[in-house]
């Protein structure tokens, strides 16, 4: 299967690979997917006191499209408020990376990862 240039670029030069300390109160962690399905994404956001995402990191087990989707998302969320980040849609990701229909689930997973991270942050703040 042919990958788009953007997928290949993100795969070969993934942005923001890594981890933050998940116990840090300013860190939000979202992990979605399952090994049995062939993809697991971990997205971490470093959130300022004012609710702005200052930094983001990811680790992904999955195909090139899954890696590219999560890499792209770390770029997009930086500088956004949590509300703004939660409005990122899978269709935006799929369009940006020109994902074929069989890879749409990768973009859905990336959207889910953002939502899971934000929920984690809210739970931590309670």
């Amino acid at each position: 299967m042919a990958y788009s240039d953007k997928v290949i670029d993100h795969y070969e030069n993934p942005r923001n690979v890594g981890s933050f300390d998940k116990n840090d109160p300013s860190v939000a962690t979202g992990m979605v997917g399952a090994p049995a399905c062939g993809d697991v994404m971990k997205l971490q956001l470093k959130v300022s006191d004012t609710g702005v995402i200052e930094d983001a990191k990811f680790k992904t087990y999955g195909c090139g499209s899954a890696i590219a989707s999560s890499s792209l998302v770390t770029e997009w969320v930086k500088g956004k408020s949590l509300d703004e980040a939660s409005s990122i849609k899978n269709t935006d990701i799929a369009q940006e990376l020109a994902l074929p229909p069989v890879k749409i689930h990768c973009s859905i997973l990336a959207e889910d990862a953002i939502k899971a991270a934000i929920e984690d942050y809210k739970a931590k703040r309670k």
Binding site: S19, K59, G62
Partner: protein, 404 residues
């Protein structure tokens, strides 16, 4: 060294230049283009002679009688003809069939079709090493078992089934025994005077012959009969009608001749390359070899790199042609059914790569492949949350995953 490197010889092989040369002599007006069935002129006689020579070369590799070779379009057709043909012809004797879960789809889907027609099929499990447990096989054999179909060499993991013993058990039970030999011809010794195999499928393109031609071995003593699946001019003694493609058959014959001549030295060379590749990947942690390493053809290495997803690995290995057990690309998200049958969990099945080495693989290529794999695995594991959790001592089987 030319990139990409071809390491998918189990999928298909290039035609050996010696084979292509022979084939080209059977196409043009100056060549032997006649219809082998034409009895009234020289063109037909010459073509028939070349077909006879090829039939002999194929029989030679198998230590069989040339009259036991029936040409088909390939191993899929041979499997269909053997299984449907024998099951239907002998159905009055019983309607039970035994096959194995790790068979090729050409066998499994044919058996499914027979189930729809009222046959009962037992799909045997295999052991963790991919081999059939002979005791399990024995207890599956019944009085009404009319046909057994077992592949000689598995296409994904390269393991060699004990068709000698299975053949003895079938013969004692008066059960017709079919073997899918698509992956074994030219790689494993096959002696039809020793084996109690009644029907055996072959393909040319797996051993440096052309695509689109194969053969079915049909035993004469004791005589095995089949219900034809293709009707027409009564070619191939009525087993398979259709004009014989002289150039294809000549190519298959030459490929089998070369295989007989060079199999031993080629196996030694390929085995040395395989072992080098094996040693290279085993330098990495959490690497699992799929299928028994001893009962295995020389050219196959099927490895799971734990915590790395197969398709992303294939992307990293873009300069080499390999095959992945992960079917993520086919939207089904189902990993290889063969690896699942070995009891491999989904993660390991998803992270498997099949390397198949062949006649034109060089040591330089294997050295290159090893270094690329080592770098790729390191990079992808650095990116893998599963690897991170594993390193932190998390038991991944106990994690409550969010399935989607």
């Amino acid at each position: 060294m030319k990139l990409p490197i071809y390491l998918d010889y189990s999928a298909t092989t290039p035609v050996d230049p010696r084979v292509a040369e022979k084939m080209m002599q059977c196409l043009t007006p100056d060549g032997v283009f006649g219809n082998p069935a034409s009895r009234s002129h020289r063109f037909g006689w010459q073509a028939e002679e070349l077909v006879d020579i090829a039939r002999g070369q194929i029989a030679d590799l198998l230590n069989a009688d040339p009259r036991e070779i029936v040409f088909t379009s390939g191993a899929t057709e041979s499997n269909n003809l053997a299984i449907k043909g024998a099951a239907r012809f002998y159905q009055k004797k019983g309607k039970h069939i035994i096959t194995v879960k790790t068979e090729h789809k050409a066998v499994l889907d044919t058996c499914r079709e027979l189930e729809r027609q009222g046959f009962e099929v037992t799909y045997l499990d295999v052991k963790e090493d991919g081999l059939i447990d002979l005791d399990v096989f024995k207890s599956a054999l019944r009085e009404d078992t009319v046909l057994v179909s077992v592949m000689h060499v598995n296409n994904e993991i390269g393991v060699i089934q004990d068709i000698k013993t299975i053949g003895e058990l079938c013969r004692a039970n008066k059960t017709v025994f079919h073997v899918d030999g698509a992956q074994s011809a030219g790689k494993v010794d096959i002696d039809m005077t020793e084996l109690k195999v009644d029907l055996m499928s072959f393909s040319a393109h797996k051993i440096y012959g052309p695509k689109g031609i194969g053969a079915l071995y049909v035993r004469r003593k004791p005589r095995i009969r089949l219900e034809a699946q293709m009707h027409g001019g009564g070619h191939e003694r009525g087993f398979r009608s259709g004009t014989l493609p002289t150039h294809q058959i000549v190519g298959m014959g030459e490929a089998f001749r070369i295989a007989k001549e060079e199999m031993q030295s080629e196996n030694e060379r390929v085995m040395a390359l395989r072992n080098k590749l094996l040693a290279g990947v085993q330098k990495l942690d959490e690497v699992y070899i799929n299928g028994d390493l001893e009962q295995r053809v020389a050219g196959n290495l099927n490895v799971s790199f734990n915590f790395v997803e197969g398709e992303s690995l294939i992307m990293a290995l873009k300069d080499m042609a390999v095959s992945s057990g992960s079917a993520c690309t086919s939207a089904s998200l189902e990993p290889s059914y063969v690896l699942r049958a070995l009891g491999r969990n989904d993660e390991l099945a998803h992270s498997s790569i099949r390397f198949s080495i062949g006649r034109f693989t060089t040591e330089e290529e294997i050295d290159y492949v090893i270094s690329v794999i080592q770098d790729a695995i390191e990079k992808l594991r650095e990116m893998s949350p599963l690897w991170e959790m594993f390193k932190d001592g998390v038991d991944l089987s106990k994690v409550d995953w969010v399935h989607h």
